[in-house]
């Protein structure tokens, strides 16, 4: 991992990787969306609204996965002062925050015809809302101490402490009585019918690839902005 601490070396890999992730992500997402909207049959119980599953689940996965990424990058920033760790965490935050918001929004739209309500203050929904607020707080904090570079401590500590919420979201459906259904996909198997499940793999991997592309694009943007700032400073002092 330390081999990529050099921004020039990182950029050499990040540029082609961005293009690959974008291409793969767009193709897989398009197949998944077409499959979910037009090819799979309606669910025997929920009817057509089951099609929301194929965007809601990847949004939840990426919202939680994004914060896990922030926590790992924060640990690397604190322990090894990896110069790209803070850049990576700051790049993940808006993408993770957007997917946490999309999870809440699509879940709310799904909840109205399924549960008869747009919102319920239960364990799963509330802990996901807390995650969205954590993203907002992290972005504000990281922007405030961006100039301190790898020496900044408040944002990475916040990133690590906020990771406590990830297992709370995951186990909320087991710990508390909730309107939200329990886990339907586990490592040992699934309760979802194969004809409804298959587009989910496409949207899951497709949106994950696009998430990766967005993170790389935002890291490249920050590195270019740092380069511009350094260049302008040199010009001004000359």
């Amino acid at each position: 991992m330390h081999r990529f601490a050099n921004p020039a070396r990182f950029l050499k890999i990040a540029k082609p990787a961005t293009a690959w992730l974008l291409g793969i992500g767009l193709v897989l997402s398009a197949i998944g969306i077409v499959g979910a909207l037009f090819l799979m049959p309606p669910d025997y119980l929920q009817g057509e609204t089951a099609r929301i599953l194929h965007i809601h689940v990847p949004a939840a996965w990426l919202g939680m996965g994004g914060w896990t990424g922030i926590a790992i990058a924060s640990a690397m920033q604190i322990v090894w002062r990896h110069p790209l760790a803070g850049v990576a965490a700051r790049a993940i935050a808006p993408a993770g925050g957007m997917f946490a918001f999309l999870c809440l929004a699509t879940g709310s739209i799904w909840g109205r015809p399924t549960w008869g309500t747009w919102w319920e203050w239960d364990g799963r929904l509330t802990s996901m809302l807390v995650l969205f607020f954590l993203y907002c707080g992290y972005m504000a904090l990281a922007a405030a101490e961006k100039d301190r570079g790898p020496d900044g401590r408040a944002a990475p500590v916040f990133g690590l402490v906020g990771a406590v919420n990830i297992p709370i979201i995951h186990f909320s459906v087991q710990w508390w009585n909730t309107l939200h259904q329990g886990e339907s996909i586990q490592l040992t198997g699934t309760t979802i019918a194969p004809e409804i499940l298959w587009p989910l793999f496409f949207t899951l991997f497709g949106f994950s690839a696009l998430f990766g592309a967005v993170v790389l694009l935002r890291m490249r943007t920050e590195l270019a902005a740092t380069k511009i700032e350094a260049r302008l400073r040199r010009t001004a002092s000359a």
Partner: protein, 43 residues
């Protein structure tokens, strides 16, 4: 209750949000890298 109205609304919100994020990141990256390239070419 027309179930398709909820499905279309959910997909519209998702595609606008995720597509907007992707487009914003793409344009910001292109603008920043172009400016950095121009500055590095300038003596």
């Amino acid at each position: 209750m027309n179930q398709w109205a909820f499905v279309i609304a959910a997909y519209a919100v998702f595609l606008i949000g995720a597509g907007g994020l992707l487009l914003w990141s793409l344009l910001a990256c292109r603008a920043a890298e172009d400016q950095a390239e121009k500055l590095s070419r300038r003596k």
